[in-house]
Amino acid sequence: MSAVCAALAADPVLATHYADFSAKTEAALDPALVALVREAVAAVHGMGAAPDEATLDAGTRTCLAYARRMPFEHTAITDEEAATVVAHLGEAGFVAFSVLAALADAECRAESVGLPELAGEGS
């Protein structure tokens, strides 16, 4: 469960809608890629090991390199980098991938500030 969902435990309406948004985003992509993106982004934040890319195809490695830029270098991503991801995933896939990578980054940050504990204390 993400830090955001955990923090919303006392608000089932928002929790359900957030979980649905996250699930719909993930469902639009290959489950293996979803897991790799989340691992890669978490590793940038120092939350776990980076995925082993030795056996991955070039397109997937390109996606992971792009995802790793999301936490601290999102304004430096170039048109060419984006184009390589679009070429691999297609436009619809690129949209879902962009939301997923950004959401994965934000969820790591929510965990880093201890959002679930802050939202749970005293409730």
């Binding site: 991503i77 949209v95 990578a101 940050r109 929510a110």
Partner: protein, 177 residues
């Protein structure tokens, strides 16, 4: 940072913007707008505080679109431009922002920039001014503001120029419920 869309509009006849690009993924779009409508419709945390956090995120992430949009509900709660002008570095000394808003801004900075900013006094101030339920809602908001700003920027959807624009506050569409 590119102002040239990196993905086309998914709506015939419309230019590429966040909504039209998200149309490539209608299930994600529908779910997001339902979530965002419920978030802004909830009054657990005042819309003015949500908007203060959104403005701070817009400035730190360099999202020009986010920075120029204002939501009616927050404006109606007194978030005028003279207050927005203070949502910049040094907001701690603002006479126009409330203590609760300053605590929310520190939380926002911690989440989007450096978690070490929310230790000691800052954490205590957040918990003094906001209830756990309000912090949960603020956390959801900042998570969404940050993620959407980054998604928008990396998809090349930043406007070249944009005037300040007051928009209706996102709401839940009755037909969607």
């Amino acid at each position: 940072m590119s102002t040239i869309p990196r993905v086309s509009s998914g709506v015939a006849g419309e230019p590429a913007h966040f909504g039209s690009v998200l149309a490539h993924q209608p299930e994600i779009a529908e779910s997001f707008f339902a979530l965002y409508g419920h978030f802004w419709g909830s009054d657990v945390l005042a819309a003015r505080i949500k908007e203060v956090a959104r403005m701070r995120n817009a400035r730190v992430t360099e999202c020009g679109f986010c920075r120029n949009v204002r939501f009616e509900k927050a404006v109606a709660q007194g978030l005028g431009e003279e207050v927005v002008d203070d949502i910049t570095d040094g907001y701690e000394t603002s006479a126009k922002l409330t203590d609760a808003e300053k605590a929310a801004l520190k939380f926002t900075d911690a989440l989007i920039h450096d978690p070490e900013l929310l230790t000691g006094d800052a954490r205590a101030a957040l918990q003094r001014h906001l209830t756990p339920a309000q912090i949960a809602e603020l956390g959801l908001g900042v998570t969404l503001f940050l993620a959407l700003a980054k998604a928008l920027i990396t998809m090349g959807l930043e406007p070249e120029v944009m005037d300040r624009t007051v928009l209706p506050t996102p709401a839940v569409l009755e037909a969607a419920e």
